[in-house]
Symmetry: C2
Subunit: 406 residues, 2 copies
């Protein structure tokens, strides 16, 4: 009995997942984190009515007839620069030279741009165009009003949000702590990079690739040494890992004689689901262990990364309390025919190709899950429904987007 | 004379930009960085022919007639687990029980899956299905051949590449150093968050938002204190900033009496371009200062971020030697009509909306560049050509994608 990917995702996310505690960080440390407080502005933004142009602060009414043919002369009372408080006020027939961002003097209601003025003599300006009341003026509170909630808990703090936080005067902010993800590869055959490879051994690559995926998801990875294929060793490593917020293993979840992960999970925790109707990655395990969410990912490196993307990343984002925990899915036409048909949902490693005005999805040729090297760019996963296909060029399929760079 | 955005981008990128020096980092530190060496595999991957299934290693020829109705009996000589060297060899009529990833014994050429076997008595197995030679076997070197170049300098190191580096045994790798971006906001009116706001003053938000954008681009931001509006102060800050790899200022690039940035640039460096035909962000300056690429961005917070995205980010990515320095541009239909028409190219802050099977672009309503708060999500910039529009719902426009999360 295989679960569908949707059913597995639903069951995993329906599980009571702990939300991370909060911590206070500086604005720059906050970038990429998830906001753990609602932000209310203590000020109007802008704080005072100001000029949006370099020019002359005026009374619009004075210039109602102004044009290039009939310039209107005003007396210039002085210059107002940004950053300097304005005690000035303006009467009919008067103007102040004013810089972008400088406070509008009392009595003025518009700014005529420098480009539409001439200076015939000192202390005089000729306005060559009419202005509406409010023209080239940013009223106090136009962007944000005092007491307004400008940001909501759960927002991912990207550059514009860092800017808004600074604008309302915050230099520190509450965010959710990064979930700590314990990563344990299992298998007698695994040897870490840099150590000697004896016959029959292979490199432990999953621990590093899954740690990188955890970083990309916004978590803090903790790599544990690989566990040998015995129930005792695996059980011991899992206990060591229980200080983390999420426990992740790779390997040992299949049906072999030495696949102990499920045993340990059933004995010492709870096994919630085991096999999912997908390719690559069928044997993916979810449960709880030492009261932590536990994922037993397949040992195959491609399967481990694809199941991480579909099942672990959303859980990390949920535990960080992010509003944004799903990847963007595009509908894109195939650049080349895709003829593989499978009884399992197929997540096909793909590139994106711009051809003229259109963006296409172009699967890598080698989709064997043993072939790591065909996923260097990690641009997208094309989703081929079970028992569907073959597909012709131009047919449209859903595509999970993994990067914004081309 | 306004330059087009393309012309400005072309001129900036045609400028001789220094490539960062390289440094050696650990695999996990390498995540998100740009590879500064070609990677050649010293091994075949897999290193030895192995089983892709749990089952029995056999000679395919022995089972050519096997079926559920006519099982073929083989003598089981032992068990081969992953991680243990196999000195075993197999003759016709024999089988080894074998685990996924374990080395194939000499003489075997296929694996029959456990699911298609029965164990009638100890040391015997019944095969219930025929297998092809090579079935359920991963041949040595199938993924990567010894001496093959698997990764190229200039690749962005994402999780699958971290996995490939570990697979070929690397625990450290050469990457390009992160460009250091000096950030200097200019203006008498600017006060950093956390400090007291006197009348006429506003918050310095650009330094923080641009620093966050620099982090997002893969650079290391260095925030300098804001510079007051005098040529001397600006010149002094720029000199202090010249230890960085890129110098970025905001404000002071317009036509006001106190806009000194261009003066300093012309006097102490070179001014290459000044005004670009875009909205927001017309007054954007590029040149060199103290032999560093210099950008004078507009003081308006929205304009500063949009011009960073279009002009600074590509330069940072180029200086990191990344092959991927452009954002993905999608062609998406409008979710609502867009009626603003401008004589400048308009970069419209937008959300993306999934409705049924289709993804739409949905501009935020307040596009005034003074309005920071309408860009909280920073999902996309819709590109509206100059003097075009109004557009109806469903009409398709280019959209610069800023995030993969929905």
């Amino acid at each position: 009995m295989l679960l569908t990917v949707e059913e597995a995702q639903k069951r995993i996310l329906a599980h009571p997942l702990p939300i991370m505690p909060t911590e206070r960080v500086s604005l720059l440390q906050a970038w990429g984190r998830v906001l753990a407080e609602d932000i209310v502005s203590g000020d109007d933004i802008p704080r005072f009515t100001n000029s949006s142009m370099d020019g002359f602060a005026v009374l619009a009414n004075d210039l109602s007839q102004a044009s290039t043919a009939q310039p209107v002369a005003l007396r210039v009372k002085g210059t107002i620069a940004a950053g300097h408080p304005s005690a000035q006020s303006l009467a009919p027939g008067e103007a102040y030279k004013i810089m972008t961002g400088a406070p509008l003097p009392e009595g003025a209601d518009a700014v005529v741009q420098s480009e539409w003025t001439q200076i015939p003599e000192e202390n005089q300006v000729l306005a060559l165009a009419a202005v509406r009341p409010g023209q080239n003026v940013r009223p106090k509170g136009q962007d944000i009003q005092r007491g307004e909630q400008v940001l909501q808990t759960g927002s991912v703090i990207k550059a514009p949000i860092v800017g808004i936080l600074a604008t309302v005067g915050r230099k520190e902010v509450m965010v959710y702590r990064k979930p700590r993800v314990a990563i344990i590869a299992t298998g007698d055959e695994l040897v870490d990079p840099g150590q000697e490879l004896e016959p029959g051994k292979i490199r432990n690559s999953n621990s590093y690739a899954l740690a990188a995926s955890s970083l990309a998801a916004g978590a803090e990875p903790l790599i544990f040494p690989p566990a040998a294929d015995t129930q005792e060793m695996i059980s011991q490593r899992f206990r060591q890992a229980s200080s983390a917020d999420i426990i992740l293993s790779s390997g040992g979840v299949s049906v072999g004689d030495f696949d102990w992960v499920k045993n340990v999970l059933s004995t010492e925790g709870s096994l919630e689901l085991w096999r999912v109707n997908m390719k690559p990655g069928k044997p993916v395990t979810f449960g709880t262990l030492h009261n932590r969410p536990f994922f037993g990912l397949p040992g195959n490196p491609v399967s481990a990364l694809v199941t991480f993307e579909l099942f672990v990343r959303p859980v990390i984002r949920m535990m960080m309390a992010s509003h944004h925990w799903q990847r963007r899915v595009l509908s894109l036409p195939l650049y080349q025919p895709f003829s593989e048909v499978h009884d399992r949902r197929h997540y096909v490693r793909s590139r994106l190709v711009q051809d003229g005005d259109r963006l296409y999805v172009w699967p890598y040729q080698k989709q064997d899950s043993a072939v790591q090297s065909s996923w260097r760019e990690a641009e997208a996963l094309m989703v081929v429904p079970e028992n569907s296909g073959p597909y012709r060029s131009g047919e449209v399929l859903p595509v999970i987007l993994l990067t914004t760079d081309s």
